[in-house]
Each structure stands twice: as structure tokens, then as C-alpha cells.
């Protein structure tokens, strides 16, 4: 990765949410899905959002992803306040800045893996000649080069999630947002996927925000755990167990940047 990315890891925050609220009205009742959440995620950081069902963790992730707009408060990602972006600008933000993976993979069933991975590049108007090579490369990175022309239904859950990861990274976003990425996978496959996510975080310097309800998983991979309940931030702890030696991370990153160049 470039030196500016490494610098941003230590300096500017990648994400800063301030008094973030997302309220829904359902009939007479007001549902406070996100209720005054303030959090900061550093560039290159791996953060896990933890909480039980309905705690608002997915809602926070959607707000960071630009899929949803806050009722009040602000989400600033790379110095842009998402709350103030137009629909068109939000789409561009999702296209170029964010990569998303979901619990249910969300690959388009009628398309082959290669086409699925290629799709964001179509929206980004990448030239057709370049697209094929890049899609192939991305699928090779997740070990699916042999399955390029298969449809999602012909693949296992783990393979589908790997394809989803390849798609999330195809436009080289700085932010990887994962919503329960292992929720539909067995533990062995889950670990395989999480190792990949960790590699992207460490080798490509991507900022990762992962929503999960499995504390063990979060503790194993995330640098920081943020706890939510009833739409409110209820705690945050650094995971010293994961990266007790920042030098090791730096070293890994430097090595990967050498490899890349």
C-alpha cells in the first residue's frame, strides 16, 4: 500500500460518527434503531460491532455504508459527511469507497461468479478489456479461479462468500464493511473467510468494520470491539490479545507493500 495509507492509519480517522440517530416510525411507535451513537474508526483499523439482535449494529453499518441516511447526527468518512451527500453521490461513494459483504452473500443468482465480480466495474464504467483481467485476478486471490463460470447456486456457502469478498474488493475501496460474514457458514469455513478479511486488513491496509454477534470471533480478529444495545453504544474495548505488538503489524504491512510494488 502507499505510504499515505500507512500514515492515515496513524493519523486521520477513516470513519467518525457523531450523535448518529436512525429512527423509524412504525404505525404509532417510534423505533430508535440507532440512538445517539458517537464512534471513531482509525484508518486501517479492524473494528467489530457487537450486540444482540435488534441492538442497532446492522443499522449503524448501513449508515456507514451509505445505504441508509441518519435521522440526525453525522457520519464522516474520509472527510465527507454522508448525511449531506445526494443520492447520486452516495451511490458513487458506495461504488468506490466501500466494499460490502453480507451474511447471505448477496450474489446475483442469474450471473456467474465472474459476472458478479465484474458488476461493480460496469457501474464504475471500467473498460471492458480491463474488466475481464481484473475479475479473474480478484477471483484468483480468493482461490476461485476454477469456478469463474459457475453460478452462485452451484457453489458452497464458503465459496459464495469468497466470491462476495472478491466483488467487494474489485473497485479497490478503502473500507470493507462486513455484516455477519460468517453467520451462514460452518465454523471451519467461517475461519477461512475471516482469515481472508484479516489479510485484506493487514496486507491492503483496508479499514474493516464487522458486525457480529459472536464475541469469540470478534476477539479473535478485531483490534477493537464496540458494544451496542438498544441503538446505543454501551462499551468499547481494545483487543490487546490480537495485536499486542503494533510493530508486527507494521512489519507485515511493509512487507506486503514491497510485494505489491
Amino acid at each position: 500500500m502507499s505510504s499515505t495509507d500507512t500514515a492515515s492509519l496513524n493519523n486521520a480517522p477513516a470513519i467518525h460518527a457523531e450523535q448518529l440517530c436512525r429512527h423509524y416510525r412504525m404505525g404509532e411507535t417510534l423505533i430508535r434503531a440507532v440512538d445517539g451513537v458517537t464512534l471513531t474508526v482509525g484508518a486501517g483499523e479492524f473494528v467489530a460491532l457487537l450486540g444482540s439482535s435488534g441492538s442497532g449494529k446492522s443499522s449503524v453499518l448501513n449508515l456507514i455504508a451509505g445505504l441508509d441516511r441518519p435521522t440526525s447526527g453525522s457520519v464522516i468518512v474520509q472527510e465527507r459527511n454522508l448525511a449531506q451527500l445526494s443520492r447520486e453521490e452516495l451511490a458513487k461513494y458506495r461504488l468506490h469507497t466501500v466494499g460490502m459483504v453480507f451474511q447471505s452473500f448477496n450474489l446475483i443468482a442469474s450471473m456467474t461468479l465472474a459476472e458478479n465480480v465484474e458488476l461493480p466495474m460496469r457501474f464504475a464504467e471500467v473498460d471492458r478489456e480491463k474488466r475481464d483481467g481484473l475479475a479473474r485476478e480478484a477471483l484468483e486471490r480468493v482461490g476461485l479461479q476454477a469456478r469463474m463460470n459457475h453460478r452462485p447456486s452451484e457453489l458452497s456457502g464458503g465459496e459464495q462468500q469468497r466470491a462476495a469478498l472478491a466483488r467487494a474488493l474489485i473497485n479497490r475501496p478503502q473500507l470493507l464493511l462486513a455484516d455477519e460474514p460468517t453467520g451462514n457458514l460452518d465454523s471451519h469455513t467461517g475461519i477461512e473467510i475471516m482469515n481472508m478479511v484479516r489479510d485484506f486488513n493487514q496486507q491492503l491496509g483496508m479499514t474493516v468494520v464487522m458486525v457480529t454477534h459472536e464475541r469469540a470471533l470478534a476477539e479473535r480478529y478485531a483490534q477493537r470491539l464496540i458494544f451496542l444495545a438498544d441503538g446505543k453504544l454501551v462499551g468499547s474495548e481494545s483487543n490487546s490479545a490480537v495485536f499486542s505488538h503494533p510493530e508486527t503489524i507494521m512489519q507485515a504491512r511493509t512487507e506486503s507493500s514491497h510485494e505489491a510494488s
Binding site: 451511490a91 458513487k92 468506490h96 446475483i108 461493480p120 457501474f123 464504475a124 471492458r128
Partner: protein, 470 residues
């Protein structure tokens, strides 16, 4: 998203629900086909009618008669302008004057007379008419055996079919007309006819003024007390053609059964009924005509030419008004046929809306995914538009082909019927290239319009909601 990508994705989506989209496209095709069928029927009928009528030479012709001829057309107009007795005479100088009017192609006298023709020493009485060289293009001579007059002064004759039958001693069967013109023509072409006629010969070349004449018209001042001799003459004519004319049809000069070249007929100075009427006025060698046919460059100029000739003091007749109401009839017919055709397309329109709205419901999650990975509202909207448009173009093309096929089948069927009723086959079905282009473009536009609402709805989908949808 770039257009090729958009098209590719749209076509891929259409292929995914191939049955539903095919049915929708067939719906469009049927709509377009009915529109094309209706309009091409209208156009074909109109073309048939104008082909028939224009070629008959009636639509670009004004018939000019003198107001002195009380038996002729346009008597109601006598109330305007000079009284019949004081109006101008339709003579050769007048004919030339009319011929030099703007937009007039030619003005030729209507020379016709009833006379005796001898063929193989047997006399036959019939109407003889003179034809100008321009008559060659008249559709009456389309199916002619032999050829048109070799020159305008040739001593040649063209026979009408029924007269040819008479010459050969055949009796035409009543009702069904099955005579073969070629069979009739074979023994007659090249043979000689002898025409007996009454020639008008000027007796005096210097008319004197009558002392008793109190009239003030210029014609009267110079011409009085003149006289003709009427001499019986014979003229040999070579039969050069036998025309398959319909004797019942209203076709002006073609009601005669023997035709001569115009210049030849003029040079014969055949006694005309008008000569008798004007005997007290004209005694020169210059003929006086009962009527003059004026051919105008295009039917649109008929009115101005008619007005000018009327101002000159003559009566005129054209079937312009008839042609106008015919044109109006076809315009109305086209509109009605178009409306009926469009009804089917309106049903197809609703079909497209339905299909696309269903597709949104079905592909809701897919739309959510596309938005999550960076598709803009515009991308989603354009994708649905492209799908609607693709169905429209495809439906349009298939529809035009279908409409054309329906037309061909109906054309064929009707011609089989016409043949069974002993009518000649007709081509009353026409699919001009502009109709093909119009139908495809129209189908495309209608489909885009049908895609407007679904595309807008798909674009506005909330991605969070859409992703939650199973």
C-alpha cells in the same frame, strides 16, 4: 453504466425470465402487427383508389364548355357571368389561350362523332373519339394489344374490345366478361377500316355583315350569313390496337369505341353538333369545339385553373370535389384503422407495465444488491428502461413481420375471392418502408413510456429494505 453494458445486462435479464418476457414481447408484436395491418390496409386501399382514379385522367383534367352549350355541365353557373347568348365561343384561339395559362399541360378539343365504319364491306355504326398523344399513359391502354398511334397524324385506329367483337361477329356474353383481348386482336391488327364521315367545308371565306343584325357581340359583327357545305368523305384507317377498356366505366373520352389520333381527327373537319349551332356565327375554317379538355400539372392546381377559365367566360367541370371527399374519406379511414390498431398496442402497453412491475417485485433483492455495490438510481432506472426498450424493439420487428404476413394472407385470400368473382387481382395492401420504421420506433417509444413508471419505482427502492426482502 455504458450503453453496451446496459444493453447486455438488459438482454441477460430478459433471457432470465424468458417465458414471461417472451409473452410480453408477443403481446407487443400482436399490437404492432394489428397497427401495421390496419394502417397498411388503409394505405393500400388509398393507393388503389388514387391509382385507379388518377390514371383515369379525371383528377388532373378540367373540362371546359361554352356557356352557349345549354345541354352541358355547369348550368347552374349560368346565373353568374354573361348570359349564354352573349358568352364566348369555344374555338381554336380560345383553346390556345387556355393552353397558355400557367400550370396547364395541354388543352385539347373533345372531338367525337357518331359515324359509320366499314370492315370487310359490312357497315358498323359507332362513336368515334380523338385522343391526344398524352392519352397513351391512360390506364385504359395498359392492357392493350398492338400499340398506340405511331404519330398524331397517322391514319390509324384503336378499337375498343366490344367493337372488335362486333367486327368479328362475336356476341358478347351477358354479365361475365371473359373475352380474351389477345384473341380478338390477332385477326384485326394491321387490317383496314373505312370510315365514312360528314366533312364541314367552308363555303365562303369573306363573311359579309348583315344589315338586319342588331346584336352587339364582336362575333356577330364579323360573322353573319355564312354557310358550310357538308360533304361526305371516306378515310381509310389501319387498326393498330385493341384496348381492353371497360365500356361501363365513367372515363370521359374513352366512352367511344373507336379512337383516332387527335391531329388526324382535326384535319378531317368532321361535322360537329356545335357547327350547326354556330352556323349563324362562324363561317371560317376554324373549328368550334363543344368542349375542351384541359390537363393540369397536378390535381392541386385544378382549382386555380378552373377559376381562371371561368373568369374567361366558360363553364368548367372537374371531379376535384369528388376527389377531395375521397381523400377526406381515406384520412378518416386511416385514423379509424390506426385507432383500432393502437388499441391492441395499448393492451400491450399495459402488458409491459405489468411485466416490469412484476420484475421489480421479483428482482427487488437484486436491485438492492446492485445499489449496495454502487449502482446509482440512474443505473437502475436505465436498466429497466433498456429492458422495456429491448422488448419494444424486438416486439416491433416481430410485429411488423407478423403484420406484413397477415397482410399477405388477406391479400392472397381476397384475390382468390376476386378471381372466383371474375375480377382482376388487386394489390390493396401496402407496407411502405416508412410504416416499417414508424412501427418499430413507435413500438420502442410506447415500450419506453410503459417502462417509465416501473423504472422510476425500481430506482427509488430503498436498498436496505430491498436487501431485507427474501
Amino acid at each position: 453504466m455504458k450503453l453496451p453494458d446496459l444493453t447486455e445486462l438488459a438482454l441477460r435479464n430478459l433471457r432470465e425470465s424468458v417465458l414471461r418476457n417472451s409473452l410480453t414481447t408477443i403481446g407487443i408484436s400482436v399490437g404492432v402487427a394489428s397497427l401495421v395491418a390496419m394502417l397498411s390496409l388503409g394505405i393500400g386501399l388509398q393507393q388503389l383508389a388514387s391509382r385507379r382514379l388518377m390514371k383515369s385522367g379525371l383528377f388532373d383534367t378540367v373540362v371546359v364548355t361554352s356557356r352557349r352549350d345549354l345541354r352541358n355541365f355547369g348550368r347552374e353557373e349560368e346565373r353568374n357571368g354573361p348570359a349564354p347568348a352573349e358568352s364566348r365561343i369555344l374555338d381554336e384561339p380560345t383553346r390556345r389561350e387556355i393552353e397558355h395559362l400557367p400550370n396547364v399541360l395541354e388543352a385539347y378539343p373533345d372531338i367525337r362523332f357518331i359515324t359509320e365504319l366499314r370492315y370487310e364491306d359490312k357497315p358498323h355504326l359507332t362513336m368515334v373519339a380523338a385522343l391526344p398523344p398524352s392519352a397513351q399513359t391512360n390506364d385504359a391502354f395498359e392492357a392493350m394489344q398492338g400499340h398506340f398511334f405511331s404519330s398524331d397524324t397517322a391514319t390509324e385506329a384503336i378499337l375498343q374490345k366490344t367493337f372488335a367483337e362486333e367486327l368479328l361477329g362475336k356476341t358478347p356474353k351477358a354479365g361475365v366478361d371473359e373475352t380474351n383481348v389477345a384473341e380478338l386482336a390477332a385477326p384485326l391488327l394491321g387490317k383496314e377500316l373505312t370510315m365514312r364521315y360528314a366533312q364541314r367545308e367552308a363555303a365562303s371565306t369573306a363573311p359579309s355583315k348583315s344589315a338586319n343584325d342588331k346584336s352587339t357581340t364582336p362575333a356577330d359583327q364579323s360573322l353573319a350569313g355564312a354557310a358550310y357545305s357538308v360533304v361526305s368523305r371516306e378515310q381509310k384507317l389501319k387498326i393498330v390496337g385493341v384496348a381492353d377498356l371497360d365500356p361501363e366505366s365513367m372515363r370521359g373520352p374513352t366512352r367511344a369505341r373507336v379512337f383516332l389520333p387527335l391531329k388526324l381527327a382535326e384535319s378531317l373537319h368532321v361535322m360537329q353538333p356545335t357547327d350547326l349551332r354556330e352556323i349563324s356565327r362562324v363561317a371560317t375554317d376554324e373549328p368550334v369545339y363543344s368542349s375542351v379538355s384541359v390537363r393540369v400539372k397536378s390535381p392541386s392546381q385544378i382549382k386555380t385553373v378552373e377559376d381562371t377559365v371561368k373568369k374567361m367566360g366558360f363553364n368548367t367541370f372537374s371531379i376535384l370535389d369528388a376527389s377531395r371527399s375521397i381523400q377526406q374519406f381515406f384520412k378518416v379511414l386511416d385514423v379509424f384503422l390506426g385507432i383500432f390498431g393502437s388499441l391492441a398496442l395499448a393492451v400491450a402497453f399495459i402488458g409491459i407495465v405489468n411485466t416490469l412491475v412484476m420484475a421489480i417485485l421479483e428482482r427487488r433483492r437484486e436491485i438492492g444488491i446492485m445499489k449496495a455495490i454502487g449502482a446509482s438510481d440512474g443505473d437502475v432506472k436505465r436498466l429497466f428502461f433498456a429492458e422495456a426498450g429491448a422488448m419494444g424493439i424486438l416486439g416491433g420487428i416481430v410485429g411488423v413481420a407478423l403484420g406484413w404476413a397477415i397482410g399477405q394472407v388477406i391479400n392472397l385470400g381476397t384475390n382468390v375471392y376476386l378471381k372466383s368473382q371474375s375480377f382482376p387481382p388487386e394489390h390493396f395492401w401496402s407496407v411502405p418502408w416508412w410504416l416499417v420504421a414508424f412501427a418499430v420506433v413507435f413500438s420502442f417509444l410506447v415500450s419506453l413510456a410503459a417502462g417509465l413508471y416501473p423504472a422510476g419505482r425500481a430506482a427509488r427502492l430503498d436498498p436496505v429494505q430491498a436487501l431485507r426482502y427474501e
